[in-house]
């Protein structure tokens, strides 16, 4: 038996549920020696803004137990660079290519999406209202229902295709934000972005990051992410994409059983450049071992 791993995420047909998380997989080609990019469900390219951004000063990373903090701060070359230099290479890919979009103000988000709308092979954007590492925009929009609603409403007008909204875990009740995004026209929700964290080098008596605080990712956040996916998938009707600390097929299946339609692999790409391939293989093997013909039958069983 060959189990069917394909899933439908709104208007997107994914050959399997495995996407790569924004900011952890470059534009895919960095991993081409280790990963068959065409066998992924899709990949989400790194956060793209209207103007180029240099990001935050070094140091931007600190290793923590079963995870890491980052404070990259959306370093990227801007949407026009993406359109001119990156997209021509990506459009030949068989996997879905989703662009992660960020902005300092609502108009920025809408303008980036408006420019991306001309690229017919980009079938979806992931709107990042949850970056903890920028002073303006980012998480500020994703921690109130009004902010989330305002950004998603503006992007909805500028973007004609699938609209995924990436949610922050740094909120009291993620389901409120989820419902606000759904109400403003989101087609799917991805969660969780990183958790706001902090680490101190006690020998040098200094923060580990130039920005003092940063975003925690990796297996350390996985139980929180699974819980939030479970809560959110019960609170909205649109599909949910789960991420946070997924390293193995079993990790991915936890999210699917908690209600996720697809998953994203993030920090695990730093440990093992072929992590995505292993997750797909292990999900396949699980289905064979348990006689599961269609992975969709596992979704939301908890």
């Amino acid at each position: 038996m060959t189990p069917d791993l394909s899933v439908r995420l709104g208007s997107l047909e994914l050959q399997n549920p495995v996407l790569t998380a924004s900011g952890t997989f470059g534009y895919g080609e960095e991993f081409a020696d280790f990963v068959d990019l065409d066998s992924l469900g899709g990949f989400i390219v790194k956060g793209t803004t209207l103007a180029p951004r240099e990001g935050n000063p070094y140091p931007r990373m600190a290793e923590t137990p079963s995870g890491m903090l980052n404070a990259v701060g959306l370093q990227n070359k801007g949407v026009d660079y993406f359109i001119e230099n990156i997209y021509p290479r990506l459009k030949e890919r068989r996997s879905e290519v989703i662009v992660n979009v960020s902005g300092a103000c609502v108009e920025d988000y809408a303008e980036v999406c408006h420019r991306l709308a001309a690229l017919d092979k980009i079938h979806a954007v992931e709107v990042n209202i949850s970056c903890p590492n920028v002073k303006h925009g980012g998480m500020a929009f994703g921690t109130t229902t009004a902010g989330a609603s305002e950004v998603v409403t503006a992007v909805r007008k500028a973007w004609p295709r699938h609209l995924m909204v990436k949610l922050s875990p740094n909120v009291t009740d993620i389901t409120e934000i989820a419902r606000a995004a759904e109400g403003a026209g989101a087609d799917s929700l991805s969660l969780i972005n990183t958790m706001l964290g902090m680490a101190i080098d006690v020998e040098r008596r200094r923060p580990m990051l130039s920005t003092i605080t940063g975003g925690l990712s990796g297996p350390a956040v996985k139980p929180v992410a699974v819980r939030m996916v479970w809560q959110t998938s019960k609170a909205v009707k649109i599909p949910v994409v789960g991420l946070g600390g997924i390293r193995t097929g079993a990790d991915a299946l936890e999210f699917i059983m908690a209600g996720a339609t697809a998953v994203q692999i993030g920090t695990a790409n730093f440990l093992d450049p072929a992590a995505t391939m292993n997750v797909i293989r292990e999900m396949h093997d699980y289905c064979v071992r348990h006689g599961i013909a269609d992975i969709n039958s596992l979704r939301g069983i908890i």
């Binding site: 900011g23 990001g55 070094y58 990373m61 990259v72 440990l271 450049p273």
Partner: protein
């Protein structure tokens, strides 16, 4: 082409207290992929309870058989502590080769300057330069004589000069006060060591009009240019040390 491969630790030595040299061979016994001096590997740390990421480590040496690779590791934290204490026979996973590396100069008069564990990439560079008919001078610095690393190995491929902070071997003082640095006739300096040392060496080289290449070791996660954590502020803005470096011409760096 980059690879992620299992290696066997075939032998191990300690060139000084707190340092280990691991000699590695591919578990499948195939030859190593081409590795340039100055390139690095990302090593998985087995059995480490609290570390998580791989460790970027310079290639210290590639034996002429093309099969055997050395890593010089300083016991500097939990991850490197585990690496230093791995036993012969253990397998470890390495992603390689990563980064750009030093060019192998076959003609210009070259001084290699290494401090602490920063001597690591210079040994392999010295071997290839020597084989190219351009035996380099190498200036090794350390706090004291027992922390000077791999002198017998360097002697095979280079003319070795030393400097120690306490004067227990060679020149008494830091490498930038050694006559080779202050008045030696060189066309090129290749340097790897602690950041303050590299900045001081870069300043001397710049003042004397000598071209200078340095190998940076910014903290990094992926080693592939994806995480954007290891950035250095350069004349081109923030660039990844793992892909644009680790070796940079000092003219590319905002070090003045």
């Amino acid at each position: 082409m980059k690879y992620d491969l299992e290696f066997d630790i075939i032998s191990k030595a300690s060139p000084a207290p707190g340092f280990a040299v691991l000699r590695l061979r591919r578990a499948d016994r195939l030859p190593l992929p081409p590795v340039a001096p100055g390139q690095f590997v990302e090593v998985e740390v087995p059995d480490s309870r609290h570390t998580f990421l791989r460790r970027p480590i310079s290639v210290n040496f590639v034996e002429p058989d093309g099969m055997t690779l050395w890593l010089l590791v300083r016991d500097a934290g939990e991850g490197t502590h585990h690496l230093c204490n791995l036993e012969v026979g253990r397998q470890i996973r390495l992603m390689l080769p990563l980064g750009n590396g030093f060019g192998v100069e076959s003609r210009r008069r070259t001084l290699l300057v290494g401090g602490g564990v920063g001597v690591a990439p210079l040994l392999y560079l010295a071997r290839l330069m020597d084989e190219a008919g351009n035996r380099p001078d190498v200036l090794l610095g350390a706090r004291s004589a027992e922390l000077l690393l791999q002198i017998p190995e360097f002697n095979k491929y280079a003319t070795v000069l030393t400097a120690t902070d306490d004067g227990s071997a060679g020149h008494h003082g830091v490498v930038t006060t050694h006559p080779a640095m202050t008045s030696g006739e060189y066309d090129l300096v290749c340097c790897c060591g602690p950041a303050p040392m590299m900045k001081a060496v870069a300043a001397v080289a710049r003042a004397r009009g000598i071209e200078c290449m340095v190998s940076l070791e910014n903290m990094m996660a992926c080693g592939l240019g994806a995480c954007l954590c290891c950035v250095e502020n350069t004349v081109k803005g923030h660039v990844c040390v793992c892909t644009e470096g680790p070796v940079f011409n000092i003219n590319q760096l905002n070090w003045q």
